[in-house]
Assembly symmetry: C2
Homo-oligomer: 242 residues x 2
């Protein structure tokens, strides 16, 4: 039995997945604490900045699954592993345990750290960070993450886009990985402060970027891309736990 502990920031749901390949699908989120990146527009600083590490609780896979099963009413569904960067946590044991109970696992990470347990995921979303984040992509690491997906793992790439430079970066991703699904997501200039849930969202700005992105994708014939907003932001703003 795997008792290696995982640093958990929050477990909540069921709600719907608001982004990417599983948009609209019921899920329980397990958000881990800690990240190797510091994106300028991070919308989950409470799970990234070590100033908040007192809120990251070490939990065993069994304790996490107990909580997931209570929330899901013991009816299996997709568990979304998020962060922070969940790839820095030892999640293999949790995935093994949950899959035995019929749960599916989706994980989103920036693609900076590959893990052998990626192959056991149902969905692996790699979300490399564009120039506006202030981070620099390690292409070799990203390639290792792509390679780490298993034969039955659905792989998706996702890029958050604020401006032309970010869009050019997304096109670079598309040309490196032409066979993979690519999701483009307009960025949110008004992410929540880590200790504040209800800041005003610049909804008009998000929708402007959505229209601009659709125009760019259709004008450039980038038909392999899927353009989707963060649905949870449109529905609930920056409210947490939904």
């Amino acid at each position: 039995m795997n008792t290696q502990t995982i640093r958990v920031n929050e477990i909540f749901g069921p709600t719907i997945q608001g982004e990417g390949a599983l948009i609209g699908q019921p899920t329980v989120f397990v958000r881990t604490g800690g990240c190797d990146y510091r994106c300028s527009w991070c919308d989950t600083l409470h799970a990234v900045d070590s100033a908040y590490r007192d809120d990251w609780h070490p939990m065993t896979p069994a304790a996490i699954m107990m909580q997931v099963e209570i929330l899901s009413g013991h009816c299996p569904l997709t568990v979304s592993l998020s962060g922070g960067n969940p790839a820095i946590q030892p999640l293999g044991g949790l995935i093994d345990l949950g899959r035995k109970e019929g749960y599916r696992f989706a994980l989103e990470t920036q693609g900076s750290i590959a893990r052998d347990w990626f192959r056991d995921l149902d969905v692996l979303t790699l979300s490399p960070k564009p120039p506006s984040s202030g981070m620099v992509t390690d292409w070799q690491k990203l390639a290792e993450c792509v390679e780490a997906a298993g034969p039955s793992t659905q792989l998706a790439l996702k890029v958050v886009i604020f401006d032309e430079n970010d869009y050019a970066y997304a096109r670079e991703i598309a040309s490196r990985y032409p066979q993979q699904s690519l999701y483009l997501q307009p960025g949110n200039h008004t992410p929540p402060a880590p200790d504040q849930e209800d800041g005003v969202i610049d909804m008009a700005g998000i929708m402007d970027r959505m229209r601009w992105l659709i125009d760019r994708v259709t004008t450039d014939r980038l038909y392999s891309a899927t353009v989707l907003p963060q649905l949870h932001t449109l529905i609930w703003g920056n409210l947490r736990g939904v």
Copy 2:
């Protein structure tokens, strides 16, 4: 060569698909004229009410594909066949012709008329109409439509929901077809008048129904459902041709 004409109301795009299984994906729409239903909240009356039939132009498959290829820049993408009810039109020849050029075809219909050419579709969305529409489902016809999908046709069910009765109807669909993908979509109480594009959208009402639907689905553990709004309505309101 198939020269049987199709009544076309509009051809537009590329834009993104705003609903259901292909949400966010670039597509060109071919909207046919004519419908065997008269839903109380129809949002495409200009393609349904025969008062507008002067705007429905008979076109051959070759003429339609020429227009699609101009719009797509001769780069194949998914063509969305919509209506009205596109199943009342002879679309088999168009699908054959387009597929030879590398185009994919998605069709949405209420499931009242099954066609043998459904098997050639890449995506078949059956959207049976709930009680609030004022229409009555012919379950035998719906079953025939489900059966008509081919082995490589992705089948999706979609139900528009305004109220508790509609939600109960969606659960009936889920229990009849537990193996199929089911999309739930909050209804729009403020569809456009057929000769007016820019009526005010009750965005708050749509979002209220979105939150309510997510609550119902998660409380009832209806985890097989996907809950998605009409993205194009959020982005563009009732504007046509986008």
